[in-house]
Amino acid sequence: MKFAVIQFPGSNCDQDCVAGINSIQGLQADYVWHKETSLRDYDAIVLPGGFAYGDYLRCGAIARFSPIMDAVVSDARAGKLVLGTCNGFQVLCEAGLLPGALVRNRSLRFVCEMVTLRVEVPDSAFTRGLAEGTLLRMPIAHGEGCYFADKQTLQALNDERRVIMRYANDRGEIVPDANPNGSIENIAGICNREGNVFGLMPHPDRACDARLGSADGVRIFESMMQTIVARHARAA
C-alpha cells in the first residue's frame, strides 16, 4: 500500500513521515514534490510538518496554491484518506479541506514537548481499534497551533463527532493545564464531515519508535491502512 508524503519547499518532517510509515509492515511511502500534479498512484496522502514557503503571510497560506494541491483537494473530495500533521494541518485549513484555523499559541511561545492525547472518536478512519478514552503520547513542535473556529463551526464539530483527539492530562482529563497552545476546547485534531481528511497538530510521524519516546503514532498510520483494506474488501 502506497502513501504519498508531499514535500513543499520548507517542509521539514517529510523524512520523519517517510521513515515512520516505512517502518510499518505493508506500507510504503514516497516523497512527492509539490510541483507534481497527480496522486493517482497513491492510496493515501500525508502533508508533513515544517514551514512550507517559510510560513510567510500565514502558516500554509502560500502552500495551499502549490500545483499538487489541486490533486490533494480533488482526491480528498473523492474520498481518499488525507492526513495533515502540524504544518500539514495548517495547509488543510487554509485549503478549505478542514474548517477553522490555527493561530499563534496563546503563550506566544514555540512549544516543543511530549503531550498526551485522548481519543474522542473511536471508529474514525484514523482511530480504528482505539477505544474512546485511549491515551496516546506524541510530540508537538509548533508556534501556531492554537485551534480556532467560530461558535457555529465548533458546535458542528462537536455534534458531528469530528473532534478526533484532544489534549489531556495523564489521567485522560481534558483540562486547561493539559492545553499546550490555547486551542479551543483542547482540540488537537479534527476531521472533515466525510471523515477522510484528518488534521492533527501533534506529530504521529515523530512517535513511531519506542526508543525515541513513543510508538503511539504507528496506531494512526496502521488505522489508515486498515481503513483502506476494509474499503477494498467492501469494493471487491
Binding site: L57, R58, A61, I62, F65, C93, E94, P99, G100, A101, V103, R104, N105, R106, S107, L108, C146, F148, A149, D150, G182
Partner: protein, 82 residues
C-alpha cells in the same frame, strides 16, 4: 498608470490576539495605564501597473483568497492613483 494599493489585515474580534495583549501590557508598563487594548495586524503596500475596470474586484478576490484568511481576519482595501 500605476495604482497604489494598501491592504490592512486585522484579527477578527472573536479571535484571541496574544501578541496585541503582550504589547498592551508593555505599553501600560511603560507609563500608559490608559491603554485599553491593542490589536496587531498587517499592512501591505502593493503597486499595480495599469488599472483596467475590474482591478478592484480582482484585488478583493485575492484579499479573500490569499492576503487574509476570512476565518480569522478582516481586511480593508484602499486604492489610489500614483
Amino acid at each position: 498608470m500605476r495604482v497604489k494599493v494598501n491592504v490592512i489585515v486585522k484579527p477578527k474580534e472573536a479571535v484571541l490576539d496574544p501578541q496585541g495583549s503582550a504589547v498592551r501590557d508593555a505599553m501600560r508598563h511603560l507609563g500608559m495605564p490608559e491603554v485599553r487594548s491593542v490589536r496587531i495586524g498587517k499592512f501591505m503596500e502593493i503597486e499595480v501597473e495599469g488599472s483596467n475596470g475590474d482591478l478592484e474586484k480582482r484585488l478583493h478576490g485575492l484579499c479573500r483568497d490569499l492576503l487574509s484568511n476570512p476565518v480569522i481576519e478582516d481586511y480593508e482595501l484602499k486604492t489610489s492613483d500614483k
